[in-house]
């Protein structure tokens, strides 16, 4: 029996190896210099829609082709699909040449070994490491390793508020968590279907960011120095509790928000005047304006920490990085393309339509004409942002903690209560799952 199993296993392995070998050798056209090369590029959703992404990027890519003779085949992919698509590409070896990734995934993807490390030579080819803002480049890979991604667009969270609503109620933009909550309470009127806040409370990606930021304000870390999860630490649990309480005890969030599984719902509520405040990254601008709110009708301040907080962290270092698949047959062309996308000209060209902060030293923020807003976000990004943990299990933090928060928001919305003990228990479960997944 055992021999038969062994034979079967061996046969299957051989078949599989044969299949993968056939696949990888069959993909792509033979490499040749200049003329015939076509790169495949997967772009993440940065504009108001995937169509908008294509509209914005196509002329930029055409200019690259005109300049270098390298063609670029563009595919814009929504955020709900991007991670799975990258995963499939990594697993099967059938991927694009160049891909956008959420910068928080950088280390988790780095350890798969699927991406080309930017060593000295590669870095030189794309214009040198010195051209990038340091904090942005640090998100590119684990500390002390060659990064496997370089920054493309910078993003940061800000607290957007409706100027007219604040003025009518005689309120000033908040500078502490307590001021923010009392302003939200003053502006909440469920009878008129108006709330102080809208949150993407059903989105695990948004939720985990705020678990991290609130924990960071409490001076807590979500991973220790060895890369092991520390989700049950007091500062983390209290930070999550504080965020959940916006819906639970402060009641400044419509319970319906528990079903908001992506940020755009909250942005739409804000643009339609249903809520006075939202927490969003600076790329919300395009969506707000597209929903009919003038860009001088809202203001932005840093997401405030409690008055007695240990740290005034207001955002994680958010953004999009650019990676090259290690198995590309067009490494030189891919590097040329990355160099082009991170050049000052292209950065300036894309900064506005994609509402991105500059990732290059000495570049000006061009994502908005509102100088005050530009200054606020630049300040948050440069001085009040903390990178998410640069450890391989970071993506596990995002999914497990984010999902747990989804469930806790759902409990609150459906009339249940979530106590600090519940949060701690949920964090223990999340932590166990992370430990199990590292294997």
């Amino acid at each position: 029996m055992r021999t038969r199993t062994l034979t079967a296993t061996a046969a299957v392995t051989a078949l599989l190896l044969g299949a993968t070998a056939a696949c990888s050798s069959g993909s792509g056209e033979p490499s040749s210099e200049g003329g015939d090369v076509t790169l495949t590029y997967w772009a993440s959703n940065q504009g108001t829609s995937l169509d908008n992404d294509r509209e914005v990027l196509t002329p930029v890519l055409d200019a690259f082709t005109a300049e270098t003779g390298i063609k670029v085949e563009l595919e814009a992919i929504g955020w709900n699909d991007l991670q799975t698509r990258i995963q499939t590409a990594v697993t099967s070896g059938q991927g694009p040449d160049v891909v956008n990734i959420g910068n928080t995934w950088a280390v988790s993807l780095q350890v798969t070994g699927a991406f080309l490390p930017f060593g000295d030579a590669e870095m030189e080819a794309i214009g040198g490491a010195d051209k990038f803002v340091r904090t942005a480049l640090e998100t590119g890979g684990a500390e002390g390793s060659d990064p496997t991604s370089v920054p493309l667009y910078g993003l940061a969270y800000g607290l957007y508020y409706n100027k007219a609503m604040f003025a009518d109620a005689g309120l000033e933009p908040p500078t502490t968590w307590e001021e923010m909550v009392s302003a939200a309470q003053a502006l909440t009127d469920p009878a008129q279907d108006r709330y102080g806040f809208a949150l993407a409370a059903g989105s695990y990606t948004e939720n985990n960011h705020f678990a991290f930021i609130n924990a960071a304000q409490n001076g807590a870390e979500v991973f220790d120095a060895e890369g092991n999860p520390t989700f049950t630490e007091d500062g983390v649990v209290e930070g999550i509790m504080r965020y959940l309480d916006l819906m639970q005890t402060d009641q400044v969030v419509n319970p319906s928000n528990a079903q908001y599984d992506n940020g755009s719902f909250a942005v739409t509520d804000f643009a339609n005047g249903k809520v006075a405040m939202i927490l969003n990254q600076n790329n919300a601008n395009a969506t707000i304006v597209a929903n009919g709110m003038a860009d001088d009708a809202y203001g932005v301040v840093a997401f405030p920490a409690p008055a007695d907080a240990e740290s005034d962290v207001a955002s994680h270092v958010a953004g999009i990085n650019l990676s090259i698949f290690a198995n590309t047959e067009h490494e030189d062309e891919s590097l040329q393309f990355v160099e082009y996308m991170t050049s000052p000209e292209v950065q300036e060209q894309l900064g506005k339509p994609f509402a991105a902060l500059p990732v290059l030293n000495d570049a000006e923020a061009v994502f908005t004409d509102n100088l005050e807003e530009a200054a606020t976000f630049t300040e948050i990004y440069n001085t009040r942002s903390k990178p998410l943990p640069l450890v391989p299990a970071e993506d596990q933090f995002e999914t497990t903690v984010g999902q747990a928060m989804n469930e806790m928001f759902a409990t609150i919305a459906t009339g249940g209560t979530v106590t600090e003990d519940d949060v701690r228990a949920a964090m223990q479960t999340a932590q166990d799952q992370v430990a199990a997944s590292i294997g």
Partner: protein, 323 residues
């Protein structure tokens, strides 16, 4: 029969060499050639992936090794231990998901069967516009899964959904609008959507089965004074038994493995009450990138379903032999 006898005579050539060889020459290869495409396809579509899955379940196939499977270290039974340790987070979640799925499968299959049977019996007699009803009933089954389920997703939204509008605003059944897609109501929503999709299949199969029941049996029983329910119990049920045996098994296997319904209905924000097992395994593999663990869970699911199927067929066959 001819097909199987040809190779077996070939195998016995040692005993009767001359005769065997002579017979072998006359197109002995034809059955193999005819079978080959089916066998090859079966091998590549079912057997190879299944064996690969079993093999993966013994590997520590995490993201560290995902781009080079051959480097993944042997995990032995560790993935199975993790899945079956019900005191720890991973095993407990799997057990909960398993229990939810059992409840889900039993309820969906029974309700679908009852509805399908009722509709099939009612539509057995011919009346005007019968075909209109038949067509209408089959619509949920004919719709592409995504289209059907995403429509339910819209209808079940708390603030903008038509269900709450109808039950709350129009009929005034509740003051506070309930959530249908999060919290414990999610299970009810999932049941409704799954039954809506599944019952037309039961209806279709039973309707086909009923066609084979001859009319004169009913007429004879009516002469003996049998009423409708007695006729159904003593004639219809036994006559469609072969159909039922297969139908219930197939429905159970489909429903138990249902992935599309929760995936489309809940998106990325799946509530614990709607955490069906294939969806759970998908998340265990794809969200955590631990494909070894996910495979171990799949193998356990496969074993469970094999066991259920085996017992079911044994019980059903024994009964039919006795009958």
């Amino acid at each position: 029969m001819a097909v199987t006898s040809a190779p077996s005579t070939g195998a016995e050539t040692g005993a009767r060499p001359a005769a065997g060889r002579a017979r072998r020459r006359q197109g002995w290869w034809l059955p193999y050639v005819l079978l080959a495409p089916a066998v090859l396809l079966e091998l590549f579509i079912h057997v190879v992936p299944m064996l690969t899955g079993i093999w993966m379940s013994f590997l520590q196939l995490t993201k560290f090794f995902i781009s080079d499977w051959s480097a993944a270290p042997w995990a032995g039974l560790r993935n199975y231990q993790l899945s079956l340790d019900f005191d720890a987070a991973v095993g407990r979640a799997l057990l909960e998901s398993f229990l939810i799925t059992c409840a889900y499968a039993v309820i969906v299959v029974s309700v679908s069967w009852v509805l399908g049977m009722a509709a099939a019996v009612v539509l057995q007699r011919s009346f005007r516009r019968r075909s209109v009803f038949r067509t209408l009933f089959l619509v949920p089954y004919a719709l592409p899964v995504y289209t059907g389920v995403i429509t339910w997703n819209f209808m079940l939204q708390r603030d903008t959904g038509v269900i709450n509008h109808l039950l709350g605003d129009n009929l005034g059944l509740f003051d506070e609008k309930p959530f249908w897609l999060i919290g414990s109501n999610a299970f009810v929503s999932l049941l409704v959507v799954a039954i809506w999709r599944m019952w037309p299949f039961a209806f279709l199969m039973l309707m086909a089965g009923l066609q084979s029941v001859p009319h004169d049996v009913y007429e004879a029983s009516a002469m003996d004074g049998a009423r409708a329910f007695r006729q159904w119990r003593s004639i219809t049920l036994p006559m469609v038994r072969p159909v039922n045996v297969v139908l219930v098994l197939v429905m159970f296997l489909w429903v138990f493995n249902d992935f599309n319904t929760p995936y489309v209905l809940f998106g990325t924000a799946q509530p614990p009450a709607g955490d069906l097992i294939s969806f759970h395994i998908y998340n265990a593999s794809f969200l955590t990138w631990n494909f070894g663990l996910g495979s171990a869970m799949s193998v356990l699911l496969l074993l469970f379903l094999l066991l259920v199927t085996g017992i079911y067929l044994a019980v059903v066959n024994r009964r039919s032999q006795r009958a």
